[in-house]
């Protein structure tokens, strides 16, 4: 085999495996939209005590204004949630319900070090039901 051809094949193999390697370890990123503030004075929703307890234990540690995790804060910030436009609030609440339903949060990696932060089955049911019902109640044409 000529040196040139050999080098080309070697480069090709290296580049191809590099691309595959990168691909294998990438995951799609999440949301990054800026939030709008509403001028409503009446709170849009009230978080019941039992839901609040679950959120404080399993979610709030990363999803708050002072969180060091920029990504988690941007995706969901419980401090800002009540100040969002109702449309955006519905989106976030529905996302909470979906993420909890799919078992995607808290992240598995995080739970290795903090197993006590895991959502129990009843936590999941409670949080999902609350998020989903609150989202529905915030729709403008919602019938009580």
């Amino acid at each position: 085999m000529k040196k040139n051809t050999r080098n080309r094949i070697a480069t090709f193999v290296v580049v191809l495996s590099g691309a595959l390697f990168l691909w294998a370890f990438t995951l799609p990123e999440g949301i990054t939209k800026t939030e709008k503030l509403t001028k409503d004075k009446k709170p849009a929703f009230v978080m019941p005590e039992n839901v609040n307890k679950v959120v404080m234990n399993s979610c709030y540690g990363c999803h708050n204004s002072k969180s060091k995790g920029e990504k988690s804060k941007k995706k969901l910030n419980f401090d800002k949630l009540p100040t969002l436009h109702h449309h955006k609030m519905v989106v976030k609440l529905q996302d909470i319900a979906d993420v909890v339903h799919d078992g995607d949060m808290p992240p598995k990696k995080f739970l290795v070090k903090h197993p006590e932060k895991a959502l129990t089955k009843s936590d999941k049911t409670l949080l999902q039901k609350w998020a989903s019902e609150t989202a529905e109640s915030l729709m403008p044409h919602h019938q009580q």
Partner: protein
């Protein structure tokens, strides 16, 4: 020099052997269905010019209408594609759009707009072999405007 060459040839040989062997590991592709009465494009009243953007850029992973080209039958690419299509459909399957409740629809519209705007989607490995999915700035803007508009109308109950 001769020694180096022999090592290189050996390496290439073993890579080739490995490549052949992994072809026998099966990859179970998510099934394709063309009959989707709840499909997004079909039920959300798209203008054709916008529909084609979603079809080209999203539908291979985010619908039941995945097109599997020849290279999706070749490992290890096939494994990655199986993973990505499964993930894509799990995140949102546009073939099931009309079965979502309204709050879920709003979430999907919002997330899709964010992903397209930020450039996180379509996922870059997909673009290597899908030039039509390489969205221009203008195309992204059209898609995002359409999604936002749809979301606002839906939220206000129009």
């Amino acid at each position: 020099m001769a020694k180096k060459r022999r090592i290189l040839l050996k390496l290439l040989f073993w890579i080739l052997v490995l490549f052949v062997v992994i072809q026998f590991i099966p990859a179970k592709k998510p099934p394709v269905s063309e009959q989707n009465p709840n499909d997004f494009i079909r039920t959300a009243h798209f203008p054709d010019s916008v529909a084609v953007l979603f079809k080209n850029a999203c539908y291979d992973c985010h619908s039941n209408q995945t097109v599997y080209p020849w290279y999706t039958y070749v490992a290890p690419v096939s494994w990655l594609i199986v993973r990505d299509v499964k993930d894509g459909r799990k995140h949102v399957n546009f073939s099931e759009w009309n079965s979502f409740k309204i709050t879920k629809k709003l979430k999907v519209l919002d997330k899709a707009a964010d992903e397209i705007k930020s450039g996180d989607m379509p996922f870059w490995p997909f673009l290597i072999m899908h030039p039509k999915a390489r969205l221009t700035k203008k195309e992204r803007k059209i898609m995002v405007e359409w999604l936002d508009n749809k979301g606002e109308k839906m939220f206000s109950g129009e």
